[in-house]
């Protein structure tokens, strides 16, 4: 089992979701996040005081998948989230020891 975490641009979320659904991924967990990186933020001004807002809004997805599906999932996300502009985000993969479905207590593959 692997955990794929992807940080993407917010307006790409819908496309990524559809692409993953087509690729057979039935579930995921989404959090709002802010990204810091090469993509620069913007400047805000409040009564003459300027703020450099360094963070840019991102969507963070977590998908637990069977180890065999990691390649597909990662490349599906990458393809769907790409705009080619700085700030498209990252996808990383982490090993998972076990998964449980809370409703049934099923574990591992059966839990997905």
């Amino acid at each position: 089992m692997k955990l794929v975490t992807a940080v993407i641009k917010p307006h790409k979320w819908e496309e990524v979701r559809e692409a993953l659904a087509s690729a057979g991924v039935a579930g995921m967990t989404v959090t709002e996040a802010s990204g810091y990186g090469q993509q620069k933020g913007h400047t805000e001004v409040y009564r003459g005081a300027e703020y450099d807002v360094t963070l840019v809004p991102k969507i963070r997805l977590e998908v637990v998948v069977d180890a065999a599906d990691v390649e597909t999932v990662v490349s599906t996300i990458t393809a769907a989230a790409q705009t080619g502009k700085i700030g498209d985000g990252k996808v990383w993969v982490v090993p998972v020891d076990s998964v449980v479905r809370v409703r049934t207590g099923e574990t591992d593959e059966a839990a997905l």
Partner: protein
């Protein structure tokens, strides 16, 4: 001059001023969180620019004696020749001028709903200056200037055609609605229209806006009696009950279609009713006003769907609510007007045994204002677009117009993260 009449028109003018911030919330709540400030700023730009022009020349071209049936005279340029003792009917002319100023502000602000999320703010500033000058001031003269004692120097709709427009169904709502349609066509659809979700980001704000609008609208309509009298009372009651009827109408339409009633529907129904009763507030009985409201609620609820079919992105439904609502109100006067309560109806409408004369006048006034406004607005919009540009970059639309055009974010609930130490620009 009558102090009671003056007191009511003063209060009314303040009420109408409040409608524009109310509109800012009605519209602002409907946008996405990343563009609420820009939406509100379009209203505040109207609040900033129109009064200045009003002093310079607007009031004069709309209401000064010495003009003709198409445009006012020049005696009031720079607000000259008015003193605290100058009367306009039973009230000081300053009070009348202050009251009418508020109508000019809100009319141009209404248009902004059609072009949410995508208009260059500089383009909007120019638009406000030009539109209010070229379109609003003349139309206000046509409709609201009744001229001297013999009608001399008054506007053609008020004094020649003698169509009934109690508080601005043509001059304000048909005018703004047609202009909204024109601008929506000039600017084109929002990036992601029909693809991305564009849900209202804050429905309580929409309800707040609707509440403030309703409140202020009593000044708009009952204040248009220009006195504290029975006609003001009739207009007040009609404004209350037609609005209620329109909420009932809009929610009923939703209950039929969706089995539920939405809060956006209730707020929209209220505004649709307020729009529709505007021209009719002095000319209908309260019972007729309820009917008018019900019709406006149902028809506008259906009309806001048209844009999806016809494919124009009138983002916050200026056409469906103000153009359609304004037409309903203006034209139904031809059917529902009644002289019974002794209000402002000159003759009975068709349903009360009158003839079709009045209806004809109403239709004519509505159509002329609609066409005039649409054509001129389209031209103004195109000129702005071709010169300084009227539309922001699609990328900026995605990241949010507030950041780009106003260098601000509307909300920061975390208060800790996300901003780096500021450097003051001083």
């Amino acid at each position: 001059m009558d102090t009671g009449d003056t007191a009511w028109v003063l209060a009314s003018a303040a009420l109408v001023l409040l409608m524009t911030p109310g509109l800012a919330f009605f519209y602002g709540g409907m946008t996405r969180a990343k563009s609420v400030l820009n939406m509100m700023m379009m209203s505040f730009a109207a609040l900033a620019i129109v009064p200045v022009l009003w002093v310079l020349y607007g009031y004069s071209f709309a209401f000064s004696p010495g003009g003709n049936s198409l445009i006012g005279g020049t005696e009031r340029l720079g607000f000259l020749n008015i003193g605290v003792d100058t009367a306009y009917g039973t009230i000081p002319e300053f009070v009348f001028a202050g009251f009418q100023l508020m109508f000019a502000i809100i009319t141009v602000a209404l248009i902004s709903g059609a072009i949410a999320d995508r208009a260059k703010f500089a383009g909007w500033l120019v638009f406000v200056v030009v539109w209010v000058t070229v379109v609003y001031f003349p139309v206000a003269h046509w409709v609201f200037d009744f001229g001297g004692s013999d009608g001399e120097g008054g506007g053609w709709i008020a004094t020649k055609l003698e169509a009934v427009d109690f508080a601005g169904g043509t001059a304000v709502h048909i005018n703004a609605g047609a202009a909204g349609l024109a601008l929506a066509l000039v600017l084109g659809k929002r990036t992601g229209w029909k693809r991305d979700p564009m849900r209202p980001h804050n429905l309580p704000f929409v309800l707040l806006g609707a509440g403030l609008l309703w409140f202020g609208w009593f000044g708009f309509n009952a204040g248009s009696a220009l006195g504290a009298n029975g006609l003001a009372g009739l207009a007040f009651v009609n404004t209350a009950v037609a609005t209620a009827g329109a909420i009932v109408g809009w929610l009923a339409y939703e209950f039929v279609k969706e089995k539920k009633g939405t809060s956006l529907g209730a707020a929209s129904g209220a505004v649709a009713g307020l729009v529709a009763i505007t021209p009719a507030a002095g000319a209908l009985s309260p019972f007729g006003s309820v009917i008018l409201g019900l019709i406006a609620g149902v028809v506008c609820a259906a009309a806001v769907g048209l844009k999806w079919k016809l494919g124009f992105d009138d983002s916050l439904d200026v056409v469906g609510v103000h153009l359609v609502g304004g037409l309903i109100g203006t034209i139904l006067i031809g059917f529902l007007a009644t002289t019974a309560p002794g209000g402002g109806a000159p003759v009975d409408g068709l349903f009360y045994g009158g003839n079709a004369d009045l209806l004809g006048k109403q239709v004519l006034a509505a159509v002329v204002v609609m066409v005039f406004s649409f054509v001129l607005t389209y031209i103004i919009g195109k000129l702005i677009d071709m010169t300084i540009g009227f539309r922001i970059d699609p990328e900026d639309e995605v990241s949010g117009i507030d950041q780009v055009e106003h260098l601000e974010s509307a909300y920061d609930y975390t208060g800790g993260s996300g901003g780096s130490p500021f450097k003051t620009g001083v």
